[in-house]
Symmetry: C2
Subunit: 197 residues, 2 copies
């Protein structure tokens, strides 16, 4: 007989409860939405709750914040809890479906371009658009690995109906990565490198 | 003020509790380990708890089953809960680290080759080897999309220290996929296709 775990829970850090309670009901434009993802990344670093990555899902029409995510890899002892995966898992709960495309027009904002895993998660989530702050090379510059992605990964997403917009507030997003590196933040690399996101 | 979810729980289906209680303490060889992943896939279909995909993490040296995963996308309203992601999340809990490579030599068995997301998750998990049953094209043959993967994805994993072994009990794994299709199982496609795994 084996004893193996049968359940797993993810919880956003406590600071997010207060943070969420202060958010507006509507985020009017692309910059306001991306700034939310960047603020999540920055707070995650400043509060010491994880890596320098944030993500958020918005209802494109109403501007409503549907779900927020931060990197929880180390705190949850789970390699899969990149910010985008967290935001997508919570968005599914919020909307009540595994396929957001069936329920409306939702957008994912990521403070840094997605790693291989999060590229796939973004595709399966049913978001219609992916907005990115910092670039892959900005994450690599501080030691994170984005994994093996197709050279034209934005094209691959577009071919499957997901719009990709890069370099939104890129400098603000880079500043969070560099702040993390300057603090000596953990580059939680398994052997050859772990994912950003 | 926004109301957004702050936690998310994954639970293996109830049948797994009984199933796990019947498993041996040691799985001696590659075939016994792969058969476990395939049985998980098959039971997930027969019990009606999800898509035709199973995965399992083993301690390579002792043959101990560390974690089991099945596809839970529809039941959990979560695009990210492919079998491999579930198994990796539970393995992290079992071993107490996000990086299995830091704790020993662990292997992931997947009843079908990983989609884009699970390719990345496998890499970040710290498993040293990935064993696959059915091929991408076998999943595509029943309508699932594996997503945009690098052409030589096994080489990409090997370059990062993860051994890849394909076609382990492939025919048995294909049989589960085809049984699912014959039952009219849901190909939970968002627009252009959702992931297998």
């Amino acid at each position: 007989m084996s004893i193996v775990p049968t359940h797993f829970g993810l919880h956003l850090p406590n600071w997010t409860l207060h943070w969420l309670s202060r958010q507006p009901t509507r985020f009017a434009d692309v910059e306001a939405r991306m700034r939310t993802a960047i603020v999540l990344a920055r707070e995650n670093v400043q509060q010491g709750t994880g890596g320098p990555f944030g993500a958020a899902v918005f209802d494109a029409k109403t501007g409503r914040l549907v779900a927020a995510g931060v990197n929880l890899v180390v705190s949850h002892q789970s390699a899969v809890l990149h910010a985008e995966v967290v935001a997508i898992a919570l968005a599914g709960q919020a909307i009540g479906t595994h396929d957001l495309a069936a329920a409306g027009h939702y957008e994912l904002y990521a403070s840094t371009e997605p790693c291989t895993m999060c590229l796939g998660a973004s595709l399966w989530s049913g978001v219609r658009a992916l907005y990115c702050g910092a670039r892959d090379e900005d994450a690599r510059a501080i030691g994170f690995d984005e994994g093996p992605k197709p050279a034209d990964w934005p094209g691959e997403l577009r071919n499957r109906g997901v719009q990709v917009v890069q370099d939104v507030l890129r400098e603000e997003a880079i500043a969070v990565l560099q702040d993390y590196a300057a603090r000596g933040g953990r580059i939680y690399n398994g052997r050859m490198g772990e994912g950003a996101g």
